[in-house]
C-alpha cells in the first residue's frame, strides 16, 4: 500500500468516523432521536456484522480446492458462534477462532 492510497483511505474513513462519533454527542445534548432514526440505527449492527461474516465465509469458487479445506472456516466460525453466544467476550472469540482455524489447517 502506497502512502497516497493509505492517505486517501485512512483520512476518508477517519473523517466519517469522527462525524459519527462526535456529531450526536453535541447535537443531542439530552434530547432524543426520532423513532424512525433509532430503529434504522439499531438495524445497522446486525445487518453489517452479518454481511461482513458472510463475505468472509462464503466464497463461490472455494469448493474447487476440495470439500475439507473449504469447510475449515465454517467449522471454526461455528465454534466462535458458540463461544460468542456464551461469553460475549471478544478476547475469547479471537483466541478460539484463530486457534481452531490454525489447528484445522495444520491437521488437513
Amino acid at each position: 500500500m502506497s502512502w497516497s492510497d493509505f492517505a486517501i483511505i485512512v483520512l476518508a474513513c477517519s473523517a466519517t468516523m469522527l462525524i459519527c462519533r462526535v456529531v450526536p454527542v453535541f447535537a443531542l445534548k439530552g434530547r432524543k432521536l426520532p423513532d424512525g432514526a433509532v430503529r434504522l440505527l439499531n438495524l445497522i449492527p446486525p445487518a453489517t456484522f452479518a454481511a461482513l461474516i458472510t463475505n468472509d465465509l462464503f466464497k463461490p469458487d472455494a469448493l474447487s480446492a476440495g470439500i475439507w479445506p473449504s469447510a475449515i472456516p465454517f467449522i471454526a466460525a461455528a465454534l466462535v458462534f458458540v463461544v460468542g453466544y456464551k461469553t460475549k467476550s471478544l478476547v475469547w472469540c479471537i483466541v478460539v477462532g484463530v486457534a481452531s482455524y490454525a489447528l484445522l489447517m495444520f491437521v488437513s
Partner: protein, 230 residues
C-alpha cells in the same frame, strides 16, 4: 492532572487494555501483510482508532477491493458509533466543548460499555471516562504497532490473521438482541451478500448486503409498529 481521576480511569480501563493487546497484535500482522509500515499503523490508530475498521481496511485491500468500496463499507460500519454518541450525550452537559469533543472522538464498542455502566452508577464524569478512552487507545496503538513489527519478522498465513477479524464480527453479532426484526435483518443481509457474490458483484457485496438486510428489517418493524397502533 487530577491523580485520583487518572487512577480511577486507569483501573476501569485495565480489562479493555488487556483485551486490546489480543485484538491489536493480529490487526498489526494483517496491516503489515497489506503493505503498511509501523508509522502508518500508528497514524491510523491515532486518528481513526477503530478495531473493526482497522481490520477491514487491510483485509479488503488484500482482496483487491476498489478504494471507494473500502471507504463506503468502513463508513457503514462506523455509523454504529452514532448510537454510542447519542446515548452518552446526556452525561456531557456540564463539560466544556473541548473536553466533550475529546471524549466523543475516542469512544469504542468496549469503552462505551464500561463508561456507560460507570455513568449510570454515578460518581463518574467525562474526565474519568476520557482517561478510560485514552488508556484503551494507547494499548490498542502499541499492540497494533507491535503486531506490525512482529509481522516483519515471522510469517503468519494471511488466512489465520484475517480469521481474527471474522471472529470479532461473529462476537459482535452475538452481542445483538435476538428478536424477530434482527433475525430477519440478519437472514436478508446473508442472502444479499451471497447473491451479490454469485452474480459477480463481490466489490460492493458487504455494503449492498447490509443495506438489503436493513431495508427488510425496517419494513418488518414498521409493519409490526402499525399493527400495534391499529
Amino acid at each position: 492532572m487530577d491523580m485520583t481521576a487518572f487512577k480511577e480511569g486507569l483501573k476501569s480501563a485495565l480489562p479493555i487494555m488487556a483485551g486490546y493487546v489480543v485484538l491489536g497484535l493480529p490487526c498489526g500482522l494483517l496491516c503489515q501483510q497489506a503493505g503498511m509500515d509501523w508509522v502508518m499503523v500508528l497514524i491510523m490508530s491515532a486518528i481513526f482508532y477503530s478495531g473493526a475498521g482497522q481490520y477491514m481496511i487491510p483485509n479488503m485491500w488484500l482482496a483487491g477491493g476498489p478504494i471507494i468500496s473500502i471507504i463506503a463499507s468502513v463508513t457503514l460500519v462506523n455509523t454504529r458509533q452514532m448510537l454510542y454518541g447519542a446515548s452518552l450525550s446526556r452525561f456531557c452537559e456540564q463539560s466544556s466543548k473541548a473536553a466533550t469533543f475529546l471524549f466523543g472522538a475516542t469512544v469504542t464498542d468496549e469503552s462505551f460499555g464500561v463508561n456507560l455502566a460507570r455513568f449510570e452508577n454515578g460518581n463518574w464524569d467525562v474526565k474519568r471516562a476520557t482517561v478510560v478512552n485514552l488508556c484503551s487507545q494507547t494499548s490498542w496503538a502499541l499492540s497494533c504497532v507491535a503486531g506490525t513489527l512482529i509481522g516483519g519478522l515471522v510469517s503468519v498465513p494471511t488466512a489465520i490473521a484475517s480469521f481474527a477479524m471474522t471472529s470479532i464480527f461473529i462476537c459482535l453479532l452475538c452481542m445483538q438482541k435476538v428478536n424477530a426484526t434482527n433475525v430477519i435483518t440478519v437472514l436478508c443481509a446473508v442472502m444479499g451478500v451471497c447473491i451479490c457474490k454469485v452474480t459477480g458483484l463481490s466489490g460492493p457485496a458487504i455494503l449492498l448486503g447490509a443495506l438489503i438486510g436493513m431495508a427488510a428489517g425496517y419494513v418488518y418493524s414498521s409493519v409490526i409498529k402499525r399493527k400495534e397502533h391499529a
